[in-house]
């Protein structure tokens, strides 16, 4: 019994240390965002200061440059999932239900897209968007994001559709319902949770992407993720403002992950591990 208690205390201590190491930096950035600017220069670094919302005011109200970037992030991420969902749902359904030749190859190709270095796609798209007059638009980023969101959503959605028993659809088929009717009135509603989960994860994927806006956006379409770069000035770094931007950019995926807690493992492994 005694040995057991020691072991338990050991595990708790280890996990407390783990939490300090992995959540500490996040707390530190939250603290930065409400630090008075002069406190960021105080040595040794301290957590004792008079909190202020000045940095958030600067970022979102006056002059509020990042407010537009926040909107851009929302427009681009929403746009990406809106285009993504119908295309990937149909593909996932077909891959789950129909006897398609070389199914493994197609799934492997989708996965390959997720694992390819994005820079490889970006150079040609940067030139193409210039040539067809889409450069600097939200749409250009939304379109290229499909390279990530579609493969991801197909994988995750397929895992959800695979879970729906075939018998329900077969029964409807015997009753004379056609493929589209079954899809619309049976599979789609049954997939509700899967679709919501997939869409939310795809939203996070798009939201957290920085390399596409770095290359494809201009000042008026820049997203919040890359907004902090303009505060590394030659005359000094405005750390509190950078902290406020970082906090604004990270709360959105944090909340989505907390909401999706039960599906986090599944989402992060593209549906291949059901947590």
């Amino acid at each position: 019994m005694r040995k057991n208690t020691v072991k338990k205390i050991g595990i708790y201590l280890f996990l407390v240390l783990t939490l300090i190491l992995f959540l500490g930096p996040i707390v530190w950035i939250f603290a930065l965002s409400i630090r008075p600017p002069e406190s960021a220069f105080q040595y040794p670094p301290t957590l004792i200061f008079k909190p202020t919302l000045d940095a958030f005011h600067h970022v979102f109200v006056s002059p509020g440059i990042q407010l537009r970037q926040l909107f851009n992030s929302i427009i681009i991420s929403l746009g990406a999932v809106v285009i993504n969902l119908p295309l990937s749902f149909l593909a996932a359904y077909a891959l789950s239900r129909f006897p398609i030749k070389r199914k493994g190859l197609i799934m492997g190709w989708y996965l390959g897209l997720l694992m390819a270095p994005p820079v490889v796609f970006l150079i040609p798209y940067f030139i193409l968007m210039n040539n067809i007059g889409l450069s600097g638009t939200h749409l250009s980023i939304i379109l290229v994001l499909q390279l990530i969101t579609i493969p991801f959503s197909v994988w995750l959605l397929k895992s959800f559709i695979d879970d729906i028993p075939l018998e329900i659809e077969e029964a409807a088929q015997i009753d004379g319902a056609g493929t589209w009717k079954i899809l619309r009135s049976i599979t789609f509603p049954l997939c509700g949770p899967g679709i919501i989960v997939t869409t939310m994860f795809a939203f996070v994927f798009a939201w957290n992407n920085a390399i596409f806006p770095i290359v494809l956006s201009v000042q008026k379409t820049a997203t919040i993720q890359i907004g902090a770069f303009s505060y590394f000035g030659a005359s000094g770094v405005q750390w509190s403002v950078i902290g406020a931007i970082a906090v604004a950019a990270m709360v959105v995926p944090m909340i989505i992950f907390l909401v999706l807690d039960k599906f986090v493992v599944r989402g992060l492994t593209f549906g291949s591990v059901k947590g």
């Binding site: 783990t18 930096p25 105080q42 670094p45 490889v120 990270m250 992950f257 591990v273």
Partner: protein, 283 residues
């Protein structure tokens, strides 16, 4: 039904492919011309080795990928095992632990740039408190520490990912099997080695591949923290490709590098699927 998504993706991927294959054989600087300028045969491939830090980038990329994977999965496994002890509050710990993984890598870059800051950064201060000598040009500015410093940020972000996925896999291991082994006198290490690890192997094989690719493509952290410097010490393949194609606008050389990077990637994935993933879910 497959067609719409298939065609869109096919078009989206075919274009860069044709682009790379064609332009790899042309001299083309986008600053001086909107179209390819001159057929140069294999010169771009040669130039990729002589005028760009391709070998240094390859070395750094492989170092980051292999060392990163080993550290992340080892620490992740320990955390997962601790989480799987049947004790109160652990689900709460698990839910909080995923937070670093949810943050955009670029934002993680900003966070660590602040924490490495040589004036009042948390990490230099901690190191000084522990009497660890600080490199002269700061952690991000010194050749010896810049690459490990970037790796540390990645480890911080992705170790929780391993912890949580491995935890999910460990929980699904048949507890009767573990009980039976314990009754037969197997100790903790023996149970982990002979029962838990073999059972979770299929999951490990999948997440190692996914994470290896993320590390191999590392870009955001390099972009925020070091831009490949000092010297070539933190150049990764993704970053030096970005630099050739989108900073120097040497499209021809970048196209040649693209072909080589994709070939290396395919070779690594081929070896992995051939020898490690046999019969697993993703193959």
């Amino acid at each position: 039904m497959l067609a719409p998504s298939f065609i869109l993706l096919f078009a989206l991927t075919l274009y860069p492919l044709i682009f790379a294959v064609r332009n790899a054989f042309f001299y083309w600087n986008l600053q001086t011309s909107p179209t390819p300028q001159m057929f140069v045969g294999l010169d771009n491939f040669k130039n990729a080795f002589t005028f760009t830090p391709f070998m240094a980038s390859l070395r750094n990329t492989l170092l980051i990928s292999f060392i990163g994977i080993i550290i992340e999965i080892t620490i992740g496994l320990f955390i997962a095992l601790a989480l799987s002890a049947k004790m109160p509050y652990l689900t709460f710990v698990r839910a909080l632990l995923i937070m670093p993984t949810t943050i955009a890598p670029i934002i993680v870059g900003f966070m660590f740039r602040y924490m490495y800051w040589d004036v009042t950064g948390l990490i230099p201060w901690l190191a000084k408190t522990l009497n660890i000598p600080e490199p002269g040009a700061g952690y991000l500015g010194s050749t010896a520490t810049a690459l490990p410093a970037i790796l540390l940020a990645d480890i911080w972000q992705w170790t929780p990912f391993f912890a949580i996925v491995l935890y999910a896999a460990i929980v699904s291991v048949d507890s009767e099997m573990i009980e039976a082994a314990r009754v037969d006198g197997a100790g903790g290490i023996r149970v982990v080695w002979s029962i838990i690890l073999p059972t979770i192997k299929p999951v490990v094989v999948v997440i190692v591949l996914l994470q290896f690719m993320k590390l191999f493509n590392l870009f955001d952290l390099v972009y925020v923290l070091t831009r490949g410097g000092p010297g070539d010490s933190t150049m990764t393949l993704s970053y030096s490709l970005f630099q050739q194609g989108l900073v120097n606008f040497n499209i021809g050389v970048a196209a040649a590098m693209t072909i080589m990077i994709v070939a290396i990637l395919n070779l690594l994935v081929f070896i992995y699927t051939k020898f490690v993933m046999k019969g697993s879910k993703l193959s």
